[in-house]
């Protein structure tokens, strides 16, 4: 210790302090300099960048959603409008504690588990600062409860929006379609700028087909907001342009009559104005309330619709493909007339069945099981149509061959989409040798030509196609694409003309008068509806087999399961000389055409006897 004794040397310690303080001061000066450089960099060098960023922060461009175009029927009945709806949404970036906020909200308004789940999945794929909807359609009381508690619920907003509403949801669901919330897939394909502020898009039907016109043009406003998104001041505003209104050919009354006439059965009615191609009625039953889809249908509701054996979501008018049955006979007859294979005088012997040369199989006429014999010993074209004689058409079909039948019937629009202005239309099947080779990779058998001659076998048509074909006959060859929309924003739309069916006018009269006899002669297959008719109607009944009947078996309606009964079809137009309406009706499993023709009568009555408006 003695040698290493170190006295405290104040002067030395002061020198230490001086040295260290100097070093520290240098250190401090260096770091202060760093700060200065940094602040100089931010405030002077990058001033413009940050000034812009700050402006952007404060001044926000807010989209203003346009009002979606309204939809009216031909007489101005409102079919789709927009109603204010209050949506409870969360801006997740501003919510402090999501779980506790959700708990508090659940105390204020009714929120079920499904809504929570959907909210969470929306929250995952949201855009930054997007309002993520939690509950739609708040009522006044719920709004008030949210408003009162708003101060303790940061990030919770109630958005007022105009929302699509269908006053006659069920009646027009299949014609209008519906709008729904934009999904991720649609988000990828739409032009984002036009949909800013808009959360709905046409999903099906007219709403989808005329989406662009109905949408309108988004406006915007520049607003000064705080970070909580509250608008403090509107700096400038560019008003949105509302979407264009649609006026349809559809007639509310007619639609209602058709719907009621189907009386809850599975079926479809399509009524056209043959001259304009306008769709007067388009009904598929059972239907559904399209309002359910606007904000995302609940799983329970959707499950019920999806799983119903009556498939209410299925639009039978354009998606339902049925064997057209005897309703094709006038067209096949026309093919025969035009080919010179038959004339109004020529006859075919009818024992109630038909046999191909060199084939033992008997092709039976439907009359056989009723009378045990044919319609008459000799059947001519008029009778063949009026009484729906199968044998006459077996013979004619065989002579025509399938390909020339195909070529002629194509002119009426069978086997391809009509081009109607709603979505999801299907094309049906108009068979030919080439078609069978392509579709099934099989050869055509002669017996199949006979089936095709009476609209069975491979042949399939939608009710809309049958209505179009009927209007081609009604106009004696004029062929138009059907259109539901008549005016867009006041501008008339015309139904484009397709290639007409060119035929001898005498042949047209042969066919039309035979179709008149279907209704107006005692033996006509639709004679039952002629009573009390104040006009003349041309029609054709049809029956589509749902199950094929074995060669020897007899079709017994009573013994067959309701779902396996034949579909009843009827096509008609009226008045004969100046047709103003053409109708196709199908009643699924109706047993026969007797289920369908009263429906057509009601619709045509309603159209022709309408009060002048």
């Amino acid at each position: 210790m003695a040698s290493r004794i170190a006295l405290k040397d104040t002067r030395r310690e002061q020198r230490i302090y001086s040295a260290r303080a100097s070093v520290a001061l240098l250190f401090v000066a260096g770091l202060l300099g760093t700060l200065l450089v940094r602040y100089y960099g931010l405030q002077i060098s990058e001033f413009e960048t940050y000034r812009t960023a700050s402006e952007r922060n404060r001044v926000q461009l807010q989209p203003l959603a346009p009002k979606r175009g309204l939809i009216y029927d031909r007489n101005g009945v409102l079919l789709a409008d927009n109603r204010p709806s209050y949506t409870l949404s969360l801006i997740l970036e501003r919510v402090d504690d999501l779980e506790s906020t959700l708990d508090q909200l659940a105390d204020l308004v009714a929120i079920d588990q499904e809504q929570l789940d959907k909210f969470r999945s929306r929250a995952v794929r949201r855009r930054p600062y997007e309002h993520v909807p939690l509950r739609f359609k708040l009522n006044d009381e719920e709004q008030a409860r949210i408003a009162v508690n708003r101060h303790r619920l940061p990030g919770v907003v109630v958005d007022a929006q105009l929302q699509r509403h269908y006053p006659h949801g069920e009646l027009f669901a299949h014609a209008l379609g519906y709008v729904g919330r934009i999904n991720a897939q649609e988000l990828a394909s739409i032009d984002e700028a036009s949909y800013r502020g808009t959360f709905h898009i046409g999903k099906t039907g007219l709403e989808r087909r005329y989406e662009e016109e109905l949408l309108g043009t988004a406006g915007y406003q520049t607003v000064e907001t705080n970070a909580h998104g509250r608008i403090l001041r509107v700096l400038d505003r560019f008003d949105p342009k509302p979407g264009r209104d649609l006026v349809l050919h559809l007639d509310f009354k007619l639609q209602q009559v058709a719907h009621e006439a189907l009386a809850g059965r599975r079926g479809a009615v399509v009524a056209l104005d043959p001259l304009s191609g306008g769709v007067l009625a388009l009904v598929s039953t059972p239907s559904f309330d399209s309002n359910l889809f606007v904000n995302g249908i609940s799983n329970r509701d959707y499950g019920a619709l999806r799983d119903s054996p009556d498939v209410p979501l299925f639009n039978r008018t354009v998606q339902g493909q049925y064997p057209p049955g005897s309703t094709v006979k006038p067209m096949v007859a026309m093919a025969g007339l035009e080919a010179g294979l038959v004339d109004s005088e020529s006859t075919v012997p009818d024992p109630g069945w038909y046999r191909l040369p060199g084939d033992k199989r008997r092709y039976r006429d439907w009359i056989l099981r009723i009378r045990g014999t044919g319609h008459a010993p000799e059947v001519d074209l008029r009778m063949a149509i009026a009484e729906s004689c199968d044998v006459y058409f077996y013979d004619l079909a065989r002579r025509l061959t399938i390909d020339s039948m195909h070529d002629h019937l194509q002119g009426y629009g069978l086997g391809r989409r009509t081009g109607i202005d709603i979505t999801a239309e299907r094309s049906g099947v108009l068979p030919s040798v080439a078609w069978k080779r392509a579709a099934l990779n099989e050869a055509w058998f002669p017996g199949e030509t006979l089936s095709a001659g009476i609209g069975q076998g491979y042949m399939l048509a939608t009710p809309l196609q049958l209505a179009v074909a009927t209007s081609v006959i009604a106009t004696r060859g004029e062929h138009r694409e059907p259109r539901i929309a008549q005016f867009i924003g006041g501008a008339a739309l015309s139904a484009p003309l397709s290639e007409p069916v060119v035929a001898d006018s005498e042949h047209w009269e042969n066919i039309v008068s035979a179709m008149r006899d279907v209704v107006h002669t005692r033996k006509g297959t639709a004679h039952a509806i002629a009573e009390g008719m104040t006009y003349e109607m041309a029609g054709k009944t049809g029956t589509a087999q749902v199950i094929s009947i074995a060669q020897a078996a007899v079709y017994d309606e009573e013994a067959i399961d309701e779902r396996h009964r034949n579909h009843g079809l009827f096509v008609a137009f009226a008045p004969i000389e100046a047709p103003s309406i053409a109708v196709a009706v199908i009643v699924e499993n109706g047993g026969g055409s007797s289920a369908a023709y009263p429906v057509a009568r009601s619709v045509i009555d309603a159209w022709l006897n309408k009060e002048p408006s």
Binding site: Y17, A21, T34, Y39, E46, A53, S54
Partner: protein, 379 residues
């Protein structure tokens, strides 16, 4: 012997006894003036940053009143007394930290507060002063520069409270406590060899610290600091918004109360830790320069006080307090400007809040006591 050494005349020239009320209160006049200007400036910014809230202003004025009162009280005791009390303060502080770990009140996931019969108290604040004071007390009795084993003892003294505070977890405070202790060791004249080996060691131990010591949220802060753009709406939000506020202020600022970033609530914590962004936005670089000038003058005056200190204790403590004060400034201004990770360090004497303010004022009280000690000796 110690007393004798204490009474050796300093090399600073003749003692000057200035008349006046500040001398009567043992105040260092230049430092007091500078602190008062800074206080006024801080209150001006705070009023605007809190959204022109008079309630917030009065609250802060009350904190300042308590702070100034504490400073004056502290200045009335000479460093001999403070030196004797230092280890006791340290022991009590560490015990309270242990108590906090077991029975503390939590806030935002961190246990920092001790509830003493309705009076909430953050023991870690006490340590901000107790640690450097104890190191100064310990080394002040020894020949300087200190021998390695004394340094080791000091490091142990520092590590214990720092570890406890880090566990709470409170990165900002543990940083300040650790720094204040190390600054004391530095001011005592620890060899540069030690300092450089410590730096090398620190760099080498950064990896295990990252892996095992830091909480996820602390790592996140560092990562966000390195790349704030990576998480614009989440962790990076604060930094992007504060940088925008600072940058958009430009040279002359948007005017008092006119900062759109802060007034429109884009800036988080605008009246507490991020208040410098409000100042920079509203007063521009001019305002920042004024603030830095004030800080620099306070730092210079504080170092100056050390030159005239009468004891090793006073010198070591003076250097440590001054440097810690600077750490507040640098860490706060650096983090808000996106230079450093966001740690909870307020801008000294400007940010709203009472706890750190009172601690800082007590620190200045100690500086006052050191600066006016000559008068006591002269009597």
């Amino acid at each position: 012997m110690a007393e004798y050494l204490r009474q050796m005349p300093s090399s600073e020239g003749p003692l000057v006894r200035q008349p006046g009320v500040t001398r009567f209160l043992n105040m260092d006049t230049p430092l007091l003036v500078l602190l008062s200007i800074l206080t006024a400036y801080g209150l001006l910014v705070l009023y605007s940053a809190s959204g022109q809230s008079e309630a917030a202003l009065y609250r802060q004025v009350r904190f300042f009143a308590v702070g100034y009162f504490a400073m004056i009280v502290v200045a009335q005791f000479n460093t001999v007394r403070w030196s004797r009390w230092s280890p006791w303060g340290y022991v009590v502080g560490v015990l309270m930290l242990i108590a906090v770990a077991f029975a503390g009140d939590g806030a935002k996931g961190a246990q920092r507060w001790l509830n003493l019969g309705g009076f909430r108290f953050q023991p870690s604040e006490l340590l901000k002063l107790a640690v450097p004071m104890t190191v100064a007390w310990y080394l002040g009795q020894r020949v300087l520069p200190p021998r390695p084993r004394y340094i080791a003892t000091c490091l142990l003294m520092i590590v214990i409270p720092v570890g406890l505070i880090l566990r709470q977890p409170d990165l900002g405070t543990s940083l300040l406590v650790g720094a204040s202790g190390l600054f004391a060791v530095f001011m005592a004249g620890i060899g540069w060899r030690f300092i450089f080996s410590a730096i090398v060691l620190g760099v080498l131990s950064a990896w295990p610290a990252w892996m095992f010591l830091l909480e996820d949220y602390q790592k996140q802060r560092i990562l966000t600091m390195l790349d704030p753009e990576s998480d614009k709406l989440g962790a990076g939000w604060n930094i992007i918004q504060s940088k925008t506020a600072i940058g958009s202020g430009g040279w002359s600022g948007k005017g008092w109360g006119q900062g759109t970033q802060s007034q429109l609530d884009f800036l988080p914590e605008s009246h507490s830790d991020f208040i410098i962004a409000v100042l920079a936005e509203e007063f521009g670089l001019r305002g920042v320069l004024l603030l830095l000038l004030l800080y620099l003058l306070i730092l210079l005056r504080s170092f100056w006080i050390g030159f005239s200190a009468q004891s090793s204790y006073g010198r070591i403590l003076c250097g440590s307090i001054t440097l810690t004060f600077f750490v507040y400034i640098f860490v706060n201004m650096g983090m808000v400007a996106g230079l450093l990770p966001v740690v909870g360090v307020p801008l000294p004497l400007v940010s709203a809040g009472g706890t750190s303010l009172v601690t800082l004022m007590i620190g200045f009280g100690l500086l006052m006591a050191i600066s006016t000690e000559r008068r006591v000796i002269a009597q």
